[in-house]
């Protein structure tokens, strides 16, 4: 039996990462999986804390120490069951969560300087093993468990899928609508394969289909189907469309080679999936042989720079206003990008875009950071007279996302939005202003992490279940 608390003698070891020279040639995940012994060994480093801060700071409050212990004891099936009991796609979280800011960053032994337990890698290992060993069985509902109520879910991203699975387990009939041709939302089209291979997402989608969840693709609400039609078809509706509208930058002119990050990433991902992508083939969304400038410092920016590298760009630069310590994206991703040859221009902001219909050069301002304000945040200020110039064949803006105007798109006036444009919901029940219509994920929260999407999906599922039960109760009382 493996004993825990080995962090004292056993150093931290992440799974091997493929050498930058090799990995930048291809769109494949860069980390190896753990071999079994390694996973067991690394799991056994856990301190089994009385207050597990990894759990506390995980949006899903995963029972991390407990499945680490099970993994350390080579009880993988139980580890999977436990891990899956709080997380609908642990294999995804294990790959793309910014663990260094969540569980691993708050790991007690990390805090005390021993190096965190490699939680994400173990999580990934556990679930991949579960799939490989066929421990993951589609949901099978017994006759008593099946409910007659049906739930419609708009959006097949993390929040929508998590809600779908949770509600299916409760016995509901589930139908999921998505405007794209595949399920997964950003998981399938936003996140590049070198972080999350598409088979992983498709494996999960297949499981959901096998569990009896029905998917309707290529459906845009308000266009292909009215919201009213969906609403009348289902006992409750969940809106989980995500946020897709790119934040823009004022370039002065309309340049054809200034591209929103998502367009760039979707094109690349679709290409990888073998789809026809004319704008890629035309070169517009292909970085090959070009000087690429990516503006922004978040995880999306990192995805863009690293995709560009793999598309064999001539050069890839990343422009960010603040310094490395203050960037919002995962430090681990920055390191990966640096290894792969991305040049980071810290404390730099675009001041002017030069070119005719295409940008050819960017004038950049050098920035400095102010003294921390009350909240501790340092504001970037321009250093006058320190401008410099860089060349660009393609400029990718990764400045974040705003919500689309859902009420307008759906043609439903009664849906209300907040001042940020996100859907307004009642805090606890997560219900919108329309009775029986719920909303969750980024469209409520604003652009956020996948793990938060899952969390919201789970919460809203519980809420919908309570809603339906309450409705049934009141019906019973009336009759």
């Amino acid at each position: 039996m493996a004993k825990m608390l080995k962090f004292i003698d056993l150093p931290q070891a992440y799974p091997d990462k493929e050498d930058a020279k090799l990995r930048k040639q291809k769109f494949k995940e860069i980390y190896e999986g753990y071999i079994k012994n390694k996973a067991v060994e690394q799991s056994s480093r856990c301190s089994q804390c009385g207050v597990p801060y990894c759990t506390v700071h995980c949006p899903l409050h995963n029972h991390i120490p407990d499945w680490l212990k099970l993994a350390a004891e080579d009880r993988l099936e139980e580890a999977y069951e436990l891990s899956a009991s709080t997380n609908n796609m642990p294999e995804v979280c294990g790959r793309i969560c910014p663990q260094d800011r969540l569980c691993e960053g708050n790991c007690v032994i990390e805090q005390s300087g021993h190096g965190a337990v490699t939680i994400g890698s173990v999580e990934k290992y556990i679930t991949d093993s579960a799939f490989e060993n066929n421990w993951i069985k589609p949901i099978k509902l017994s006759a008593q468990q099946i409910r007659k109520e049906s739930i419609g879910i708009i959006g097949a991203g993390p929040a929508g899928l998590a809600a779908a699975e949770q509600l299916r387990k409760q016995g509901y009939e589930i139908e999921v609508y998505d405007r794209y041709d595949r399920a997964g939302g950003l998981l399938i089209y936003g996140i590049p394969s070198f972080k999350l291979e598409k088979e992983i997402v498709q494996r999960r989608t297949k499981y959901l289909e096998d569990s009896g969840i029905k998917f309707h693709f290529n459906i845009e609400i308000g266009k292909d189907l009215t919201f009213e039609e969906i609403k009348s078809k289902h006992d409750s509706v969940l809106i989980a469309t995500g946020v897709y509208k790119a934040k823009t930058i004022n370039t002065g002119k309309d340049f054809s080679n200034v591209i929103p990050a998502l367009d760039f990433l979707i094109a690349s991902n679709k290409k990888g999936l073998g789809d026809e992508v004319p704008l890629f083939d035309s070169g517009k969304l292909n970085a090959e042989g070009k000087d690429v400038v990516v503006i922004g410092g978040g995880d999306t920016a990192m995805d863009c720079v690293r995709t560009s590298i793999r598309q064999k760009a001539k050069s890839v630069k990343c422009l960010y206003r603040r310094d490395k310590e203050n960037m919002p994206g995962s430090a681990r991703e920055v390191l990966n990008a640096e290894e792969e040859g991305v040049e980071f221009l810290w404390k730099s902001a675009p001041k002017d875009f030069i070119g005719n219909d295409k940008v050819s050069e960017i004038i950049c301002s050098r920035m400095q950071l102010s003294e921390p304000d009350a909240s501790g945040r340092q504001l970037p200020e321009i250093i006058e007279g320190a401008d410099y110039k860089i060349t660009a064949d393609i400029v990718i803006t990764a400045l974040g996302f705003d919500p689309e105007d859902i009420p307008k798109m759906f043609g439903v006036e009664e849906l209300k939005v907040t001042k940020w444009g996100t859907l307004r919901t009642e805090f606890k029940s997560m219900m919108t202003d329309i009775d029986g219509v719920f909303a969750a994920g980024d469209i409520v929260r604003g652009a956020s992490l996948v793990v938060w999407g899952i969390r919201d999906g789970r919460d809203v599922a519980e809420s919908i279940h309570s809603f339906i039960q309450a409705k049934n109760e009141s019906l019973k009382k009336v009759s």
Binding site: M1, L5, F7, I8, S47, Q48, C49, G50, V51, P52, Y53, T55, V56, H61, H63, D66, K69, E73, R75, E81, L82, S85, T86, V108, I109, Q111, S112, G113, H114, S142, Q144, Q145
Partner: protein, 1505 residues
């Protein structure tokens, strides 16, 4: 209002509010007897009894008035001449026939009641045909009484009568009088007259007793001064009680015995007596049997209950020696090599008929023929005896109580565990221990009788365990039984893997069960009782040989009938039964068994109805003659939910007990919920005979099938689990000092927190439930909810748990992750705003502690905060808790001390010593010396130096996380540094015993306090207790023992390592303990004599303020201080892997420590500031003004809606204070009294001036206690910086030295005694030398006689003791460096020893060297039985096999001879060549590799070649 009126009113208020229960009172005392061995009455016997009482006054307590004692008395023969004169004075002629005397307390202030009593007494005597001479008003000198004693004094009269009936056959007159007495008592009780009490009613003997100081016995009763008062025996007694209500009736001796100690098993014994008495009484009195029932009157003290049982056996014709053997047998079952078979047969017979009454008990008893002295199995009370050539025996708690000419003495002995000594006055013959037992063992054919006892373990065995449920069914059952993953992984798994209970650390910060919104099994509402102060817990590991789980069952028949019952008595070694054995048992006894299904349909019937039907079925089974009842919940399924088996078992046990028919059957319980040891304990404690944990076993099977238990077979796994449970049960019993499971069973030794009072009254006999709580309907709601969930469908994983550690979705934990970080940020940034956020967040939590249900209320106007006393003055009331350097890292420990010294608060060394370097102020002005030094049971590092470098000494009697248990510092934490502080060896495990071996009783605590006040006369003495019901009376006893501070710890205190179930289920919240202590001390007029302090999970200023309102003046924050220094509740203190370096000795981890004194100072400043705000808000300006003001609190929440009621009135009630007394103002140091040292110090003035060698001579008595300690304090303080030679100051003493001779004696001091000494000689010896030898004129042979009392050299660290004679029990326990030679010792010698040299030139008692991990011992093995007496678990022992060690031994014996002139030693030295082969050398295994020379020489030579 008079004192008495206020007292009675206050008492009633507190009782009505459920705050105080008089049945919790305790007592202990000095006891003894004197007899003329030839049986001829003589005056010296009486006079000596009176004298003896004058010499044990220090074992009693005195009330605040300085005169009211707790009681004393004497039991003697009726002096016929004297009383015949008295009869004549009444105008009667003396008639033919026996003269009887009744010594009676009558109501003094109510004339009509007095007349009624007299009339009833007379009428009953007349009814039996006796002739009454009349009443004699006993002459009294009331001037010696204190105010309280006098105001409650009864009218004391003697009824004189004669048996002048013509009888056909000889009747047992004392049996007749017993019957008459019971009838009188019953009739008067029915009249509700409470002041009536019959001390004695007899034709043989009379008892004089009352509430005066022991020394005033014969002054108060001038009768006793009369020369005609002669007797062949006298039994005397002096009482020390924790309660201060003057109760004349509770003074001793009682009718048959006098008792020193405590009966730990009292509640089980009383319950079982109710079952036995049904049959006994009818045998004795046939159709009149109801007249004498109940044998044990409700509300009796434990001693009087024992007396009642003892008397019943005696009246039923059993001799006193046999009765003692039945009720207080010696430990026998595991000592087959030391006890003859005939004796064992007798004990086995006794075991099969009646539960033992476990002490600690030393008794003196009289049955009309025998006068005996006896000891219970553990031998925790002293009894020494002296036999003279004038045919007298003097026996008592101390030697030297009666001055006897040394030349007259022929023998000096002591009673060991289970021993007995008796004089048959009719025969005129003395029987010593072995002879008397032999006589008893041969009186009946026990060997025939025990043949019929069926040993189940031999009859039913099983090699194969099978499986019961498939995995889906198993999962549902697990969930329905409330199992969680945590419980399986953290609790069950280690029980199999380690065959021991799981260990954890830090305190319990989850809601008490009643406040939880989760499902909590019923066991969580039961809190294990534990011993503190008034009686000692036992070490269930090291002293296992005296403990037993032997379980007997079947129809127990009549305990008095020696012929007919044994055929149906079954015995097995443990009450824990595996599935296969259980099934076989069912088959084995199926004709006599009835199975009762405890499951019921989830719809249509209620829990209450189901319980009723279970009770009815059980009763019907008994009446139909069945012998076994099986209660089972195995039939639970989708439709049927189970009654919680604790409830079912208790309901059956209590209803059968109430009807007196419980002993006709055994009660076997099959329970799904039962998994941890606590649950087993609760089931057995509420009456289960055996327990079958079938579901836990199924979980083991499942895990075994998964391969989680390595190479163990399934059967082995089950065996290991059973072993863990057995050990756990022993530990839980040992915690309250119970050794034998039969006396624990059905004893309801729990208190309940949060169960409905009415439900508890109905099903749990005698259990307290002070705050009420959930009742049947609430429980029903909870179990059904859980049941529906479990069977609702496909639940994949078990609930995660979260009781022991925080888990999302599980229980709330008060140390919340985010709040910990918030507090840490606040103290490191010195941000009071952040602290307030932290504090507010705590307030907004759902309730966790009782105090969370309370809110402040005040009708005063708020005050301006600027008018409130400063944080500087409030901070002085704070302490950082008692945590040892050993559990904490050096850095953390010193940081705390520095911080507390900066703010004038206190830090405590904890157990384990403290480096003297820390007493020196550092260059930067900081000081890391702990202001409070702890004295704990292991006495690690307790030296004269340690105790002289502090301002307060804390006696840790119990610890919140594990009251009643000792600790263990695993070898891997014993670094060089720790080993040095603790005077031990690097890497060798250190064990702290559960009890202080010098505190088995309240008077012992008084003695320890006395000792400490000698060695440091300037220090306050604090006694640390753990909250429990009844703690109020314990605290009253502690206050009477002159403590200055009483610390009440809550159950939620922290620990470095403890069994998980101990952390969870022992002790109660401090809110309950503190309020009880505050009010009971007020009730008894003692509150102003002490400071009250509390601790346990205090986190905010609000917590502090509530504690103050509840009566605390000072406050400790242990865990919260640690959190301020960086602790993040990893809860791995026991693993030495604390990642933040707080609680570890690992060098690398210690480097991670990031705490600073500033952070700690900030924490306490914030808390003080918050307290100020609350004081201002309440409308006061000083903390002092709000202490004890529970009227400023109100209950704002009564818990969830499904509770019957949650009633905190018992916490808020107040006793009215004496207007003449100033409260909360105790600043000085209580004076414990003076000693001979005061004189010695004056006589030694030259020595102190010049340091030159001197010798002083004194004659001493047993009342001269603690000689040499205060002198040592003076010597230490005078010479601490200079070297001093041995023997620089020598005291030559003659006589019997009192207790604690040479305690803490320092180097340079030598004490030489000619005569003998009492208990605790050389306690914590710190370099001094003590020599004892018999008087020059003595005829006795040193090697056969006892010269030292019990627990000598306890915790000695250096120095020498040479004694020409035997030592008592527990010699050299926890010696860590002293050298000592004695000529024999009692049981448990060298227990827990960690260093030094012990040479025993004679026999030892058994269990020698238990838990010994250091030092060396040599024993002269005369009878070649040492191997049966040694506890070899940690030891190797062998003959002397090296020249080196032979020389070492010889030089020790030479030293002994030189110091004592012992002829025995001389003989050994003179015949060394032949004698050396008789020695055994004993060495701990763990230190074998670090010895200066190996034990066996050959190996060394071989290596060399």
């Amino acid at each position: 209002m008079s004192w008495l009126e206020r007292y009675n009113r206050n008492k009633k208020t507190l009782i009505d509010a459920n705050l105080y229960d008089p049945s919790q009172e305790h007592d202990a005392c000095g006891v003894g007897f004197i007899a003329s061995i030839d049986g001829i009455p003589n005056r010296r016997v009486v006079i000596s009894g009176i004298e003896a009482l004058k010499a044990v006054w220090h074992r009693g307590a005195v009330d605040a008035d300085g005169k009211t004692g707790d009681g004393a008395g004497i039991h003697v023969e009726i002096p016929k001449l004297f009383f015949e004169e008295e009869v004549k004075k009444t105008g009667h002629e003396i008639m033919e026939g026996d003269l009887g005397i009744g010594m009676i307390f009558l109501p003094r202030n109510d004339y009509s009641a007095l007349e009624k009593c007299r009339t009833i007494v007379e009428s009953e005597l007349l009814n039996h045909g006796y002739y009454i001479y009349g009443w004699r008003q006993v002459p009294l000198d009331t001037s010696v009484l204190g105010r309280k004693a006098n105001s409650t004094r009864p009218e004391i009269e003697q009824v004189m009568f004669v048996n002048n009936i013509e009888r056909e056959k000889e009747e047992d007159l004392d049996k007749e009088l017993f019957f008459i007495r019971r009838k009188i008592e019953k009739r008067i009780l029915n009249l509700q007259i409470s002041e009536f009490y019959i001390c004695s009613l007899s034709f043989n003997t009379v008892i004089y007793k009352g509430l005066f100081l022991a020394e005033h016995l014969s002054t108060f009763f001038p009768d006793l001064e009369d020369e005609r008062f002669i007797s062949s025996f006298s039994i005397f007694h002096q009482r020390y009680s924790t309660n201060t209500f003057p109760s004349w009736a509770l003074a001793q001796p009682f009718r048959t015995l006098a008792h020193n100690g405590e009966i730990n098993t009292i509640s089980g014994n009383s319950n079982w007596m109710r079952n036995h008495e049904t049959r006994i009484a009818s045998e004795l009195f046939a159709e009149n049997s109801d007249q004498v029932k109940p044998i044990i009157i409700r509300g009796s003290s434990d001693s009087s209950a024992l007396d009642a049982a003892f008397e019943m056996f005696v009246r039923a014709g059993r001799s006193a020696p046999l009765t003692k053997t039945l009720l207080l047998p010696e430990a026998w079952s595991k000592r087959s090599k030391l006890i003859p078979e005939s004796h064992r047969n007798m004990y086995e017979f006794a075991n099969a008929v009646i539960e033992p009454w476990d002490g600690p008990a030393a008794i003196a008893a009289y049955d009309g023929e025998w006068v005996i002295g006896g000891m219970d199995r553990n031998g925790l009370r002293p009894m020494r005896y002296t036999i003279t050539d004038s045919n007298l025996i003097f026996a008592g708690s101390e030697t030297g109580m009666v001055p006897v000419n040394e030349e007259e003495i022929v023998f000096k002995g002591k009673l060991g565990p289970g021993d007995i000594i008796g004089v048959n006055l009719r025969e005129g013959k003395l029987y010593e221990n072995f002879d008397l037992k032999d006589k008893l063992a041969n009186e009946h054919p026990y060997h025939e009788w025990v043949k019929k006892v069926i040993r189940i373990d031999k009859q039913i065995t099983s090699k194969k365990e099978s499986s019961l449920f498939d995995s889906q069914n198993l999962r549902q059952r697990k969930i329905a039984a409330g199992y969680t993953m945590e419980e399986l992984e953290l609790i069950l798994h280690p029980m199999v893997e380690e065959a021991k209970e799981a260990i954890g650390s830090m305190g319990d910060d989850t809601p008490i069960a009643i406040l939880s919104d989760k499902y909590r099994p019923l066991s969580h509402f039961f809190r294990q009782k534990f011993s503190q102060v008034t009686n000692p817990p036992i070490d269930s590991i090291r002293e296992q040989s005296r403990m037993s789980l032997k379980t007997r069952f079947g129809n127990l028949r009549d305990v008095l009938d020696s012929n007919s019952y044994q055929d149906s008595v079954f015995v097995m070694d443990s009450p824990v039964v595996s599935n296969s054995i259980f099934n076989k048992m069912l088959k084995f006894g199926k004709d006599e068994a009835v199975t009762i299904d405890c499951c019921f349909p989830i719809t249509n019937i209620t829990l209450k109805e189901k319980i009723k039907s279970i009770q009815d079925e059980a009763e019907a089974a008994v009446l139909s003659g069945k012998q076994h009842i099986i209660l089972t919940d195995i039939n639970a399924n989708n439709e049927n939910v189970s009654v919680p088996m604790i409830l079912a078992t208790a309901a059956v046990h209590s209803s059968l007990t109430r009807k007196g028919i419980r002993s006709f059957i055994s009660l076997h319980v099959q329970s799904a919920e039962c998994l941890d040891t606590h649950y087993f304990a609760v089931l057995i404690g509420v009456g289960a005979t055996t327990v079958n944990p079938y579901l836990a076993q199924e979980c083991i099977r499942e895990r075994h099938e998964k391969g989680l238990f390595g190479n163990y077979s399934y059967e082995e796994c089950v065996g290991r689990f059973k072993k863990a449970v057995d050990q756990g049960l022993l530990k839980i019993m040992a915690k309250l000092g119970i050794s034998v499971v039969s006396a624990y069973r059905g004893g309801f030794n729990f208190e309940v927190v949060g169960l409905s009072r009415s439900m508890v009254n109905e099903y749990f006999i005698g259990v307290q439930s002070r705050i009420s709580g959930i009742g049947l309907s609430g429980i029903e709601y909870k179990i059904k909810e859980l049941h529906r969930y479990a069977f609702s469908g496909d639940v994949a994983t078990l609930p995660i748990g979260g009781i022991y550690r925080y888990r999302n979705g599980g229980e709330a934990h008060a140390y919340d992750g985010k709040l910990i970080h918030l507090l840490q940020t606040a103290v490191s940034k010195n941000s009071y705003d952040m602290f307030k956020t932290y504090s507010e967040s705590h307030k907004n939590f759902s309730p966790i502690n009782i105090r969370d249900l309370l809110e402040f209320k005040s009708n005063h106007n708020s005050k301006n905060i600027n008018d409130v006393e400063s944080i500087t003055s409030i901070r002085k009331r704070f302490g950082s808790g008692s945590m040892s350097h050993g559990s904490l890292s050096k850095e953390a420990h010193e940081t705390l001390a520095v911080a507390m010294n900066r703010i004038g608060g206190s830090s405590c060394s904890g157990e384990g010593g403290e480096s003297i370097e820390r007493s020196v102020t550092r260059e930067n002005g900081d000081n890391a010396n702990s202001r409070v030094k702890q004295v704990a049971s292991g006495r690690f590092g307790v030296t004269a130096e340690y105790l002289n470098n502090c301002e307060e000494i804390e006696i840790k009697v119990a610890q919140g996380a594990k009251p009643g248990e000792g600790g263990q510092l695993p070898g891997f934490k014993v670094t060089a540094e720790i080993a040095k502080l603790r005077h031990s060896t690097i890497g060798v495990t250190l064990i702290s015993p559960p009890p202080h071996h010098d505190i088995y009783s309240i008077e012992d605590l008084a003695q320890l306090i006395f000792d400490l006040k000698q060695i440091n006369p300037k220090a306050r003495v604090c006694v640390k207790l753990v909250a429990s019901s009844g703690i109020g009376t314990i605290a009253a006893g502690v206050a009477k023992a002159k403590a200055d501070v009483i610390l009440i710890s809550g159950h939620n205190g922290g620990t470095g390592a403890s069994p998980q179930t101990s952390v969870k289920y022992a002790g109660i919240p401090w809110e309950m303990g503190l309020t009880e202590v505050n009010q009971v001390l007020t009730l008894n007029g003692l509150r102003q004599n002490v400071v009250l302090r509390t601790d346990g999970g205090i986190k905010t200023g609000r917590d502090v303020a509530i504690a103050a309102l509840m009566g605390a003046e000072e406050f400790n924050l242990g865990t919260t201080s640690l959190v301020a220094m960086g602790c993040i509740m990893v809860r791995q203190c026991h693993s030495n892997t604390c990642p933040v370096g707080v609680c570890t000795q690992d060098d690398d981890l210690r480097e991670r420590f990031s705490g600073t004194a500033d952070k700690v100072v900030n924490l306490f400043s914030f808390i003080a500031e918050e307290v100020r705000e609350i004081i201002a808000e309440l409308g006061f300006t000083k903390l002092e003004e709000i202490i004890g003001r529970t009227d400023l609190l109100s209950q704002i929440s009564r818990g969830s809606s499904h509770l019957d009621d949650l009633d905190l009135n018992s916490l808020l009630i107040q006793a009215e204070k004496d207007p003449e007394v100033k409260y909360f103002n105790h600043t000085g140091i209580n004076d414990a009294g003076t000693t001979l040292d005061e004189k010695i110090i004056l006589d030694a003035v030259k020595f102190f001036e010049t340091g030159q060698k001197i010798e002083l001579n004194y004659s001493v008595k047993n009342t001269d206690r603690t000689i040499g300690s205060k002198l040592s304090s003076f010597i230490y303080n005078k010479f601490k910086n200079s070297k001093i030679n041995d023997d620089q100051i020598t005291l030559n003493l003659t006589g019997s030295a009192g207790q604690s001779l040479g305690a803490f004696a320092v180097k340079g001091l030598t004490l030489k005694v000619e005569g003998d000494a009492n208990d605790y000689v050389g306690k914590s010896l710190s370099g001094g030398k003590i020599v004892l030898r018999p008087d020059k004129h003595s005829k006795i042979n040193s090697k056969d006689n006892t010269i030292l009392g019990n627990t000598c050299m306890y915790g000695a660290t250096s120095g020498y003791l040479y004694a020409a004679g035997h030592a008592g029990e527990r010699f050299a326990v926890r010696n860590s460096g002293a050298t000592t030679v004695v000529e024999g010792c009692g049981s448990n010698g060298c227990e827990y020893m960690t260093g030094g040299n012990v040479i025993i030139l004679g026999l030892t008692g058994d269990n020698f060297g238990a838990g010994m991990t250091g030092g060396m011992a040599f024993v002269y093995d005369l009878d070649k039985k040492f191997r049966y007496r040694v506890n070899e678990e940690t030891l190797v022992y062998q003959g002397i096999q090296s020249n080196y060690w032979e020389n070492v031994l010889k030089s020790f014996i030479n030293d002994h001879y030189n110091e004592t002139n012992s002829l025995h030693a001389k003989k050994i030295i003179d015949n060394w060549e032949s004698e050396v082969s008789k020695f055994i050398q004993i060495c701990p295994k763990e230190i074998m590799n670090s010895l200066v020379e190996p034990l066996v020489e050959e190996t060394k030579e071989k290596k060399a070649t």
